[in-house]
Symmetry: C2
Subunit: 555 residues, 2 copies
């Protein structure tokens, strides 16, 4: 007596369940925008679907609507002019609570089946979503397609798989028979009902409006909760399209669509009232430390899953693939103009330089060579635009300007402004690379979000590892890296990262980059350092989103 | 390459893993103090081992010791006069942190094996622990044996089983091979290390110093954390014996015994400094709302698993086993003088009375009959003393006095003081039963810990169910019950308890009582209402106590 949609998507679910257990490579959705996977007309259809949204009201038919709100500014400079329903947050909460009863009755199988169907439908919209992500965030096209659509969907599916595993471990019922010696046994029948904790709010960010939203959204949804998506004010469209599709699939399957709603808010006070409402029991957040800490401090009625700022870093001790290392780093620092929570900000290089397959390289040479590798990589405009995309926010532009001024360190590579022929108004910037001493902590030891990195001169490798550990423990990080040809150095860095609880990439010199984390295999964040109190995804990410309510009686 | 202690206890672990999944009856340890299970001399040996501790310093050989502290007052009035090492809390934390590295290296199998060995050794000490629990808490002997020893051990084992399941789901390593079309695949080797979040503190309570301590203790320990046990100031001995045994087993197995320490503190400020220390990453607490809320508000660096106060309640609509129901309730209200977090405090009876197999019973008759059932049950002194035990605290005595004064409601059954011939100084009290109206919320709608219950007159069954739901949602509860012969009434109560997230016992009339929760089968608390933000035990109770730190490299 399982759910037809669970049967329809059984192979996908089984694949995901196997993948989260083996953590080997697996994917449910094609990351290449291939006509064979998505259909011959998918690319054009998706582009037109996106274009058709522009300049219009995006109808969601939600309760408590009082008006329309828009105002997204595309980093590519195109006019979006989409408006979204403004709804009373209390009305959305009340409607979500009401919808939860039917969702609870659908059971683990029904909820999982419907979530899988939603993901499949979102996958069919990948081109439309990719355009929406690209145009609201400034990501390059390929990245917007991959990270914005299939990769985000994989992260959502991953959360559904974890939720399914935990929910299915709890039996629906049990006969409890306790022997009583020579007397008849005590026999009870017990029922165990999975009940969502309450309304979940997912607060999105401006750079990854789907990739960072889907894990919390699907974790909360699959475990029986209503979800209110509160998107970043400049990246509403991808969230709104997502919510619209979810609501359609819910309604098709007899579930009250108000289970999932979009909450756009012109004022922060509205968001604050939303997330602190007594009925809100979980808040998923990606963003800066100020609001993140505010959430942790004020949303005491809820469990807060927060990904905040950090100072990602790399230790370079030595390498037997100098050019490949430089190419790998150049890509990492350039991708989406460094506007990723996983981009490396501090690169530690010993004052005495490093040994490489190309001979000894002084600290200054490493600085110059990395600068050269970045310039070389971005020399062709078509490559540069595809990789860099556009700068998402004015704050990031200001940070680039500050770094370029030389105030934070010696400018090894200045940021340049590029003109994008396709999008003349796009704000495109190449990375700025600074050199500084380990003592200049105020420069490199806070997150400077954007294409701003420091090559920090450290006494030696041991000092670099110690500094990395201290930074992660006190300021947090999602990623660290090490380049070394010496096993004992790699062991020391491994031990340091296990103490400071951060993921480590070792000697990346090929087609994998420190800023990339792959669903089912790489944990995004450990939940153990200040950069994030949760991980995408693990058992802890789902287990606390529902409770088990039992009843028992004699039989 | 597993751990020898895991192999030694494999059958126990497998039994527990099966039990938490099926939630059928299962037990690893005999709840009867049987010589066959525990040895012919176990009872006498345990008694003597307990007696030998009295009037002495209990040596633990912990770091940072500055003196000795005692002062436990036995509710049975015997002299305990045991003293425990007073150690600087910062020294205990530092030593615990240091010990965590070796514990991490033991891996999931090693930690689980050693935890199982510890539980087995504690089981062998069941008689000694039972005496320690009895004499510090005032529990009757059989309850002290069962709840204090085997049942507490089962709850510890349950937590270990959940921890093992979550830890073993994470593979130690994986080969990640991503196809690249016609090019060679990307291949990486990844390692996944389980790392405890940090030092865990378990704050014990005065009434169940092992049963409420072992879940958090073993959950934190098995998942790789150091644990500092902070016992209630009047129930140190059972915790100290436990810690001593744990330290011995750790040392025998090459683990730094400072992984687990006892922290006794004369002043609350010391406890506050301990639990708010930055290195403390989890706090398990059982006790009152005031300190519990303080912990939740102040221990922002830690995850707090708190069991607080609540107002457990029962709705009586009708019954086809009136006498059996009364007997069942009489036992529940009498057991350990109601000093259980699961004892029912409010019993809702319709103003118009109830239908029973013995005809209609008016509200007043139900009050009188329940009073009579309690008096009758406790008529024999040997039964009364075995069931009631002694009153644990002066606060509870005061609450009984207040209830007896009639200020809180009409006294239907007054509490009486009984003389215990074996323990002349024991404070023994029978339950007090009060009658009041639903409107007298200030009387019955806060926890009045101890043998104090209210028969609350409600308009009708529907009002009773609504009142029960409101109480659970606003004040919390660990247990609710209903008596009804009507399926629609049971369905309504079931729905109400699923909304308010509390366990429900239906028509208990035999040898199972609403205040009992059995390891592996009954969830103790749901974590979804104000009485507790966690449950013994489930995935959520363990999953957030460790993180996974990965490293990856090309192969």
């Amino acid at each position: 007596m399982t759910h037809p949609l669970l049967e329809k998507h059984r192979a996908t679910l089984d694949g995901a369940l196997n993948a989260i257990h083996t953590r080997c490579y697996w994917a449910a959705y094609n990351e290449m925008p291939s006509p064979k996977s998505y259909g011959e007309t998918a690319a054009e259809d998706g582009k037109q679907a996106f274009a058709a949204r522009l300049g219009k009201n995006l109808e969601l038919d939600q309760p408590g609507q009082s008006g329309w709100l828009g105002g997204e500014q595309s980093p590519y400079g195109i006019d979006l002019n989409v408006h979204y329903p403004v709804c009373d947050h209390a009305a959305l909460i009340a409607a979500g609570q009401q919808a939860m009863t039917g969702w609870q009755k659908a059971g683990a199988d029904g909820r999982t089946g419907i979530c899988l169907e939603i993901l499949s439908r979102l996958n069919q919209q990948s081109f439309e979503l990719a355009h929406a992500v690209m145009m609201t965030t400034g990501q390059g096209w390929m990245m917007a397609f991959q990270a914005g659509a299939p990769h985000a969907q994989e992260r959502g599916l991953e959360a559904v798989a974890y939720a399914y595993r935990e929910m299915k471990f709890v039996p629906g019922e049990a006969i409890w028979e306790k022997p009583q010696g020579k007397n008849p046994p005590l026999v009870m029948k017990k029922h165990f009902e999975l009940v969502g904790h309450g309304v979940g709010v997912v607060v999105g960010c401006g750079t990854f409006p789907t990739w960072n939203t889907y894990p919390g959204l699907f974790a909360a949804l699959a475990t029986g909760n209503a979800v209110i998506v509160k998107p970043h004010g400049n990246a509403i469209l991808p969230a709104a399209i997502t919510v619209k599709t979810i609501r359609a699939v819910l309604a098709e399957n007899g579930i009250d669509p108000n289970l999932v709603t979009l909450c756009v808010a012109a004022e922060r006070a509205t968001t604050q009232a939303l997330v602190t409402h007594p009925a809100v029991k979980s808040v998923d957040f990606t963003g800066g430390n100020v609001f993140g800490q505010w959430l942790i401090d004020h949303c005491r009625q809820a469990r807060v899953y927060a990904e905040l700022a950090g100072v990602n870093n790399i230790v370079i001790d030595s390498t037997d693939a100098y050019q490949a290392m430089l190419r790998n780093l150049a890509f990492t620092l350039s991708l989406y103009s460094g506007q990723m929570c996983t981009t490396s900000q501090a690169i530690f290089v010993p004052a005495g330089g490093i040994e490489t397959d190309d001979g000894h390289k002084s600290y200054d040479t490493v600085c110059a060579d990395l600068a050269g590798a970045i310039s070389g990589f971005l020399a062709k405009p078509e490559v540069a635009h595809a990789v860099l995309g556009a700068v998402q926010s004015a704050d990031t532009l200001q940070r680039i300007q500050l770094a370029d001024s030389g105030e934070l360190g010696k400018v090894v590579l200045a940021s340049t402004q590029l003109a994008n022929p396709e999008f003349p108004k796009a704000e495109v910037r190449t990375p700025v690379l600074l050199a500084c001493d380990a003592a200049d902590e105020q420069a490199y030891m806070e997150e400077r979000f954007g294409p701003i990195s420091f090559i920090v001169k450290v006494a030696d490798t041991a000092a670099a590892i110690a500094l990395s550990e201290r930074i992660v423990a006190t300021h947090g990080a999602l990623t660290t890296g090490i380049y070394s040809t010496k096993p004992e150095v790699i062991d020391a860095m491994t031990a340091a990262t296990q103490r400071s609880k951060v993921a480590l990439s070792i000697n990346l010199s090929g087609g994998v980059f420190v800023n990339q984390s792959t669903a089912y295999s790489d944990y995004h964040g450990t939940g153990g350092n200040p950069a994030a109190n949760a991980s995408y995804a693990d058992a802890a990410f789902v287990a606390n989103r529902f409770v088990v309510v039992q009843r028992r009686y004699h039989v």
